[in-house]
C-alpha cells in the first residue's frame, strides 16, 4: 500500500517536471546581475517556466552555448576568431543587451592617498611590471598588488586590449589571477595597495574606480561618460543563442530586450541600448 503511494508520488513529480520547462543560461558574471533579475521577473509572468542562471565567465558562456549545454550564453566581450571558427556550425546569434565600461579600480586607501587618475600607458606599465610601487605614480610608498583575471574573461579582453594593446597579452607584473567580479572585488577590498579591473556596475566605497587621462583630459568613470562614449574602455554586453531563438528562449530574449528588460539593465547600473 505504502509502496503504491510512493510510486504515485514519484509519478506526480515526473508529470510536474514535464509541464515545467526550463531555459538554461550561463556565462559572464558582469551580465549575470541583469539576467538573474530579469529571470526572476520573467518567472512571475510565466510561472511554468524556470530560468536557470549560472556564472562561469564569458568564455564559459560562449563555450556552453556553442556546445549546446545551455540555451543562452552571456558574454561581456565579442567572440574571438577562434570561438567563431570552433562553433561555426552552430550559427551563434549575438544580441546586444547593454553597454558597460571596464574601469581600472584601486583600493580605497590608495584612492584616498591621492591617486585619482591614471593614463592607459601607466596602467600598462603596472601590468607589465615596469611600475611596482605607488610612489612612482605619486601615491603612498607601497608595492602595488597587481590583480589580473583569467585569460578568457570578458572584462580582461576589453581591458587588456586598451591597456596592453593585445586582448590575450601576458601581464608579467601580475601578482594574483582571479575569476569572477565578486572574487576580484573581495581581493581589492582585502588589500590596501591593489589595482584591478571591474565592470562599472561593481564599483563601491571600498573599491574605487580611477579616472583615465587621455589627450590631456581626465575622464571619470561616470554613467554619463559611458553613455556619451568618452570613457575609453567601453563594451557591449551580449547574449548569445544558437541560431535564431525559438519558443521559450525567444520569449526570454525578447523580454530582456523589451522596455521592461531594459529597465532592469538601468537598475543594475548598466547603460540600456534600446
Amino acid at each position: 500500500m505504502r509502496l503504491w503511494g510512493v510510486i504515485l508520488l514519484l509519478g506526480a513529480l515526473l508529470l510536474g517536471c514535464g509541464k515545467h520547462e526550463a531555459v538554461m543560461v550561463s556565462g559572464s558574471t558582469t551580465v549575470l546581475p541583469i539576467v538573474s533579475k530579469a529571470a526572476d521577473q520573467f518567472q512571475i509572468t510565466s510561472p511554468n517556466v524556470s530560468v536557470i542562471v549560472n556564472a562561469g565567465g564569458s568564455g564559459v558562456g560562449i563555450k556552453q552555448v556553442g556546445e549546446g549545454k545551455v540555451d543562452v550564453g552571456m558574454a561581456s566581450r565579442d567572440l574571438t576568431a577562434l570561438e567563431k571558427e570552433t562553433y561555426a556550425d552552430m550559427h551563434l546569434k549575438v544580441f546586444v543587451l547593454a553597454r558597460d565600461a571596464v574601469v581600472p579600480v584601486i583600493s580605497s586607501e590608495v584612492y584616498d592617498a591621492g591617486i585619482r587618475a591614471l593614463t592607459l600607458a601607466q596602467i600598462g606599465q603596472i601590468y607589465r611590471g615596469e611600475i611596482a610601487n605607488w610612489k612612482t605614480l605619486g601615491g603612498p610608498d607601497r608595492e602595488i598588488l597587481v590583480i589580473d583575471k583569467e585569460k578568457s574573461r570578458g572584462t580582461r579582453h576589453v581591458f587588456m586590449e586598451k591597456v596592453l594593446g593585445d586582448k590575450e597579452g601576458d601581464a608579467p607584473g601580475a601578482d594574483l589571477v582571479l575569476g569572477s567580479n565578486n572574487e576580484e572585488q573581495t581581493a581589492i577590498v582585502q588589500s590596501d595597495a591593489a589595482i584591478g579591473m571591474l565592470s562599472h556596475a561593481w564599483l563601491n566605497d571600498d573599491v574605487k574606480g580611477v579616472a583615465i587621462i587621455a589627450d590631456g583630459k581626465t575622464i571619470a568613470p561616470t554613467l554619463e561618460n559611458i553613455v556619451n562614449g568618452s570613457f575609453p574602455i567601453t563594451r557591449n554586453l551580449l547574449i548569445v543563442t544558437q541560431g535564431e531563438p525559438v519558443g521559450l528562449v525567444k520569449q526570454f530574449v525578447d523580454y530582456l530586450l523589451s522596455t521592461e528588460g531594459q529597465k532592469i539593465v538601468k537598475d543594475s547600473g548598466y547603460v540600456a541600448v534600446r
Binding site: 565567465g57 563555450k63 556546445e67 598588488l145 585569460k151 581581493a187 582585502q190
Partner: protein
C-alpha cells in the same frame, strides 16, 4: 543453499570488479583524451609560460605548486594528526573516545567550498597580517588550509590503526617495566606503522586532488617563486588550474587536451607514491595483528 552461496560470491566478485573498473576507465579516458597533447606540445610542457591562446602550455609552475602545498600540508597535518590520535587512542577512556572521535570526524564532512570561503575570509587575511604581505593568497595559505582539511582523515585512520593493536601487547610491555610513553613509542607506533602509512597515503591523495578550496586561496598565478622555497608568494597548483580553466576550454581543443593531460599526471603521481611506498614499506610479516 549452494545456489545462494554461489550467487553471493558472484555478487561480491562483480562489485569488486566494478570498483576496479572505475580506475581503469578513468585512466583510459584520460589517456585517450590527452595523448595527442603530449605528442603536440612535447617538451613545451616543461616550459614556464602558460598562455593557451598563444599555444604556450608550460605546466612546471603548477607541478611545483602542487608539490609545495603537499609538503606544507603533510608536514603540518601528520605530526598534529598523529599526536591527536595518540591522545584519543591511548589516553582517552574508551567511552570518551567515541564522542571525541565522532566529533573530529564531523570535520571531514564539511564541503570543501566552505573551507575555501573560510580560507578567503579569515585564513588569508591572517596570513597577510602575520607575515606583513601584500596579499594573503599564497602557497602557504593553501598548504595550511589543506592541512586542516586532511586532519580528520589522518586522526581517525591513525587512531584506528593504534586502537587495533591488541591490549595484550601493551600489557606485556608494561609488565616488562616500560613507561607509558615508551609503550606508545616502542610498541604501539611501530606495530601500527603499516596502517599509519595507509593514512598518509590517503591524506596525500586528498591533498594532491583537492580543488575548490585551494583554488580560492592560492592566488592562481602561474609562477615559481624566487627563491623557490619562498612559499609566501601566490602560486598555482595543477588542480586550481584545472578548476579555473577546465570549464572554458573547448572540448577536443589542444587546451582541453593539455588540461586532461595534467589530470593524468596528477593521477600518475598519486599512483606512483602509492606503489613506491607499498613496495618499500609493505611487509606482511611485520604486521603483528590481523
Amino acid at each position: 543453499m549452494l545456489l545462494s552461496a554461489k550467487m553471493g560470491k558472484a555478487y561480491v566478485v562483480t562489485c569488486a570488479m566494478v570498483s576496479a573498473m572505475v580506475i581503469v576507465v578513468i585512466l583510459g579516458f584520460l589517456i585517450a583524451n590527452s595523448w595527442q597533447a603530449f605528442l603536440r606540445v612535447g617538451w613545451g610542457l616543461l616550459d614556464a609560460v602558460w598562455n593557451p591562446p598563444k599555444g604556450q602550455f608550460g605546466i612546471v609552475s603548477m607541478v611545483y605548486g602542487s608539490f609545495a602545498v603537499t609538503v606544507i600540508a603533510l608536514s603540518i597535518a601528520l605530526p598534529l594528526g598523529l599526536a591527536t590520535a595518540v591522545f584519543t587512542s591511548e589516553m582517552l577512556s574508551v567511552s570518551m573516545r567515541v564522542y571525541v572521535k565522532s566529533f573530529l570526524e564531523l570535520l571531514a564532512g564539511i564541503p570543501s567550498i566552505v573551507y575555501g570561503l573560510m580560507g578567503v575570509a579569515f585564513l588569508s587575511v591572517f596570513v597577510q597580517g602575520a607575515f606583513d604581505l601584500q596579499s594573503g593568497r599564497t602557497l602557504l595559505t593553501g598548504g595550511i588550509l589543506l592541512a586542516l582539511m586532511v586532519l580528520p582523515t589522518v586522526i581517525t585512520l591513525c587512531d584506528d590503526a593504534m586502537h587495533h593493536i591488541p591490549m595484550s601487547y601493551r600489557e606485556a610491555a608494561r609488565g616488562l617495566g616500560l613507561y607509558p610513553y615508551e609503550v606508545i613509542k616502542d610498541v604501539v607506533l611501530p606495530a601500527a606503522k603499516m596502517d599509519i602509512l595507509g593514512a598518509v597515503l590517503l591524506a596525500l591523495g586528498r591533498v594532491l586532488g583537492e580543488t575548490m578550496a585551494v583554488m580560492l586561496v592560492i592566488g592562481s598565478i602561474d609562477k615559481i617563486p624566487t627563491p623557490f622555497w619562498n612559499v609566501l608568494t601566490p602560486g598555482q597548483t595543477m588542480t586550481s588550474k584545472l578548476g579555473r580553466e577546465m570549464a572554458e576550454a573547448a572540448f577536443g581543443s589542444l587546451h582541453f587536451e593539455v588540461m586532461i593531460g595534467m589530470a593524468l599526471i596528477l593521477l600518475v603521481f598519486v599512483l606512483f607514491f602509492t606503489v613506491v611506498s607499498l613496495t618499500y614499506f609493505y611487509n606482511p610479516e611485520r604486521r603483528l595483528y590481523e
